[in-house]
Structure formats: C-alpha cells, structure tokens
C-alpha cells in the first residue's frame, strides 16, 4: 500500500518536474543557451502566485500573474543578459556565470522582501481524501497530471503545426538558414524563452500548493531540469519530459528505503550514472561534434 501511495505522490512530483524540464529543454534546444536562471523563473512565478493569493486575489488572477512573471523574466534574460553576451563572445562559462549571478540576486531579493524559509499556499485542493484503504489522493494530483498532459499536447501541436513552432525547431537545427529565409533569429529566441519560462509557472504554482516554496528552491529546480534534460537526451523535448516524470517517481519510490532528505540524492545518482555511462541520454543521438 505504501508503494502505491508513493507512486501516486511520485507521479504528482514527476508532472511538475516534467513541465520545468520541458521548458528548460525547449530553451536549450532552440537557442543553445544554457539558461541557468530557469530555476529563477520558477521561483519568481511561485512567489508571484503566493503574493496574489495572500492579497486575496481570485485564483485565475494569481495564475495569470505567475505566468506573466515567469514569461517576462525569461524574455528579459534573453534581451538584456544573453544577447549582449553572445554579441561579443558567448562562451558557455560566461553565459553560465551571468545567469548564475542573476539567480543569486533574485534569491536574495526574495529573501529580503518575502522572508526566508518555507512558504506555502493553503488550499482545499491539496487536502487528501482516502480513496482506497490507506491511499490518500488530493485533487491537486489530477490538476498536476491534467495540466502537464494538456500543456504537452498543446506544445506538440504548436511545434508541429504552427509556423512559429516549425521555425523554432528549424532554429534549433540551423540558425543561419533561418536568417536566409528572412525569419528573425532574435525574435524566435525571445519566443523560445517566453514559452519555456511560461511552462515553469504552472509547476511553480502546484509546488506552492503542495510541498511549498523557499527562496533557494531555484537551485533544486535547476538540478532537476538539467538532470532531466541530460537523462532524456539533449535536444529531445519528449525525452526531457519523460525523464522528469521518471525522476519524480524515482525520488518518491526511494522514500520506501531512505529518509526524505535523500530524495534529491536519488536524482543526482541517476544523473551521475548517465553522465558516466551514457552522456547522450535515453533519446539522444551520440554527439558527433
């Protein structure tokens, strides 16, 4: 019974991980920018929702504010940090350090203004009811899984059927050709950041309602997103989402054997194993470059 309960919890966590990881993978795949501040977009969205909730705004307004916060942050990062850097040099390390610096600034600003430590949103949605003997399920589980499923379906349709989506995939493969066809690589880049960052918002809201936020949660989110992207295979959105789901389930199932504080270590061990033995991930093609 414990196993089933942990599996259910794992699916809920996994849906959240899948959303954040897919956002990160979309940005990385399309722009080749290692968006290390993706966790910061998540944190900002979560706290935006928290503030809206505490100010007694209706739920939908809170969601809108959260999505707007994440999207605007992502677009601002592209415009004011990554683009100037890529203009002169843009080595991996420069991009990484700049994004990391932004993450530290936001983390401490949130600590200053919103207080440090755990912050949660209490809603009836996260109260579990006993559906089977000893199995508790909260409505938020269905919301998490439903949101993830709907967003992935929408994302797939967008990337395969719409002009902008096809152009985004083309940007991932050949940025020079994009310019030849008269499309704006910069504009597409901003689009990738907007969509990728927006995907972190629902995950952040659900996290705020369940396990809660803290100002340093961005690091954890980043570790999961990177781990999922690498395990899934860089360049594969489906791989990242699937790996995110797997990591969530694995972390939860591991609780049968170890205490909660080790959950993070499980994801890391999976990542470490993949880096050592299969750096190209599950769906990745062995990197020829």
């Amino acid at each position: 019974m414990l196993f089933l309960q942990l599996l259910i919890n794992g699916l809920q966590t996994g849906a959240i991980y899948a959303l954040t990881a897919a956002g990160f993978a979309l940005i990385f795949g399309a722009t080749r920018i290692f968006h290390f501040a993706h966790g910061t977009a998540f944190t900002l969205a979560g706290y935006a929702f928290l503030f809206a909730w505490r100010a007694d705004w209706p739920g939908w307004a809170g969601v809108l504010v959260a999505v707007a916060a994440a999207t605007l942050f992502g677009m601002a990062m592209e415009r004011f940090v990554y683009r100037p850097i890529q203009r002169h040099e843009g080595s991996f390390f420069t991009v990484f350090v700049a994004a990391f610096g932004v993450g530290i600034v936001v983390q401490n600003l949130i600590g200053l203004f919103a207080g440090r430590g755990l912050a949660t949103v209490d809603t009836p949605l996260s109260f579990g009811t006993e559906v089977l003997p000893e199995i508790f399920v909260a409505p938020i589980l269905w919301i998490a899984i439903g949101t993830a499923a709907v967003l992935f379906a929408a994302l797939t349709v967008f990337l395969t059927r719409s002009h902008a989506g096809v152009a985004l995939r083309a940007l991932a493969q050949n940025p020079d050709l994009i310019r030849t066809y008269g499309l704006s690589a910069n504009g597409l880049s901003v689009l990738a950041f907007a969509i990728g960052s927006a995907l972190a918002a629902p995950a952040a809201i659900i996290t705020a309602m369940t396990s809660g936020l803290n100002e340093a949660i961005g690091h954890q989110v980043m570790l999961i997103s990177i781990a999922a992207t690498i395990v899934g295979g860089i360049g594969s959105l489906r791989g990242a989402a699937l790996a995110g789901l797997m990591l969530g389930v694995a972390e939860s199932l591991a609780l049968q054997f170890v205490d909660t504080q080790w959950a993070e270590a499980v994801s890391f061990l999976v990542l470490f194993a993949f880096i050592l033995f299969r750096p190209s991930g599950i769906f990745g093609v062995a990197a020829a470059r």
């Binding site: 850097i85 002169h88 420069t94 530290i104 570790l223 504080q261 270590a265 990542l271 880096i275």
Partner: protein
C-alpha cells in the same frame, strides 16, 4: 583592532588558497566546478577530527586534510574525464547538493547540523602557534606552485586541454592524467584551507560548506580574473572586505547584511560577464601580452 585585522588577514589567506586552487582548475584547465566548498568542508572535518582525536598539530592536520580531499577529488575528476561544459557543471552542482546532505547527516564524522565544537588551539611540533603565519605560508606555497605549474609543461598541457581537448589529445598529451592531477591538486589545496579554517575558528559546521560558499569562491576567481595569478587574490580581498564595508552603512539592519552582500556579488558577476568577461585583472594582463 589588531585582533580584528589579524582575523581578517587569516580569512584572506584561507580564502586566497581556495580561490587560487579553484582558479587552477577553472582558469587553466577549464573545469567549471561549483563544488569547491565540498573539498573545503572535507578538509575542515578531517583537520578538526585530527585535532580533536590526536594532536592539534597544524602540519599534520593539513597533510591529512589534503590527502582526504585530494583522494575524494576522484568524485569530481571522474565526470570531468567523461564530459565538459554544461554536463560537468550539472554533475558538480549535484555533488555539492548531495555533499551538504551528507555533511548534515553523517553525525559520527561531522557532528551533523551542530558541527564539531571545541577544536583545540593549533600547535606546531608541540609549540603553540597562530594560524595566520601558517596560513600565509601555505598561501605563498600554493601561489608559487600555481605559478610554477602554470608556466611549466603541465600548465601548457592544461590550457591546451581547455582550448581544444581533441587537439591536445592528438598531440599525444595524456588528457585523463592531466585532468585528474589538476583536480587532485586543486582539491587537496582546498582541503588544506579547510584544515586551517577549522583550527582558526575552532568550530566547524555544515553552514560553511554550502553552495553559497562555492559561489563565493567562484565569484572571487571570476571577479578577480580567471587564469591569472593575482586576480583570484584581488577578488578574495575585495569580497572579504565587502561585509566590513557594508557594516559601515548605518541604515542597513545587521540581519540583512548577508543578503545585501550576496546581491552585490551576484550583480557583479552578471555585469562583469556582460561588460568585461575577463575579470578585473584579466583584461590588463591580456593587453600586456598583445602589446
């Protein structure tokens, strides 16, 4: 005042060692580790345990700390051999996060969250000695070693690996051995700094070995200038005098000094990367070589 200055000088020496060794793998070998505080911590716990259980001898503590940190540096060297860039940062980020959990949980070795307290005052061959002279000597030795290694064939091999790994391999350089050695040297140095830190503060707990400290060390190197000899030292002095400078601002509540300091460090990192990626010192020396 003298005590305050001597404390600050000791801190500068200890973090100077950390920044210099991190710079060695980051600036010369191109291995971007965000887990340097882990090896600092390993050295600190090792040094503390030696002082608590055996004798508080500085040299012995440093040697044991260097051996343990250097030995466990394989945790960092293994992924560095397999992957680079993004992948390695991910691995070291994970290592940092797991290590903090380990430090907090392995109570018999690390004292858990409470840490190890009452570390006896340091001695040298039975004679009581201050940490400051030893730390300064260690810093000088490490700087000398860095300068020699960087100038010699080993340093050239490392920079070659940083700039073009396959080219270095094609020229017959043993990439795996060079990387492992570089990581081992840097981590052993961090271990020495850890042992000195434990003896200096006579108290260690996991708080000093978190990701924040790894970031602080990285910021010291980056703000000063990667791949330069003096850059990391200048970065260390700048960043360590920051809290003292902030303490003079009367409108700042004491509890928020840490956060404000982190914000300044973060801003400095981002702005430097946008406008001056080589760091404060880096650009100057680069100008000299082209002139």
């Amino acid at each position: 005042m003298i005590a305050y200055l001597s404390n600050l000088a000791t801190q500068v020496a200890i973090f100077g060692i950390l920044a210099a060794t991190l710079n060695f793998i980051l600036g010369y070998a191109g291995i971007f580790s965000i887990a340097h505080a882990v090896f600092f911590g390993l050295g600190a716990y090792a040094g503390a345990q030696i002082a608590l259980l055996l004798v508080p001898d500085v040299v012995l503590a440093c040697i044991v700390a260097a051996a343990i940190a250097g030995g466990l540096s394989l945790c960092l060297a293994l992924p560095a051999l397999r992957v680079r860039g993004e992948y390695f940062v991910a691995a070291s980020l994970g290592l940092q996060m797991v290590a903090v959990t380990l430090f907090a949980e392995l109570k018999p070795l690390t004292g858990g969250i409470g840490g190890l307290v009452g570390i006896p005052l340091p001695t040298l061959f039975g004679v009581p000695v201050g940490v400051l002279p030893v730390a300064l000597a260690a810093l000088a030795l490490i700087l000398l070693a860095t300068a020699l290694l960087a100038r010699g064939s080993f340093g050239r091999t490392l920079t070659a690996i940083r700039d073009a790994e396959s080219a270095a391999e094609a020229l017959g350089k043993n990439v795996a051995a060079a990387k492992t050695l570089a990581v081992g040297f840097a981590c052993a140095g961090a271990g020495v700094a850890g042992a000195l830190y434990a003896l200096h503060t006579s108290f260690v707990n996991v708080e000093s070995f978190t990701m924040d400290y790894s970031v602080l060390m990285m910021a010291m190197v980056i703000i000063g200038g990667t791949g330069t000899l003096w850059g990391p030292l200048i970065g260390t002095v700048l960043l360590l005098s920051l809290p003292a400078a902030l303490a003079f601002l009367p409108f700042l509540p004491a509890t928020e000094v840490g956060a404000v300091q982190q914000i300044i460090i973060g801003l400095a990192m981002t702005l430097l990367m946008i406008f001056r990626p080589a760091g404060l010192v880096g650009d100057l020396s680069r100008g000299q070589t082209t002139a």
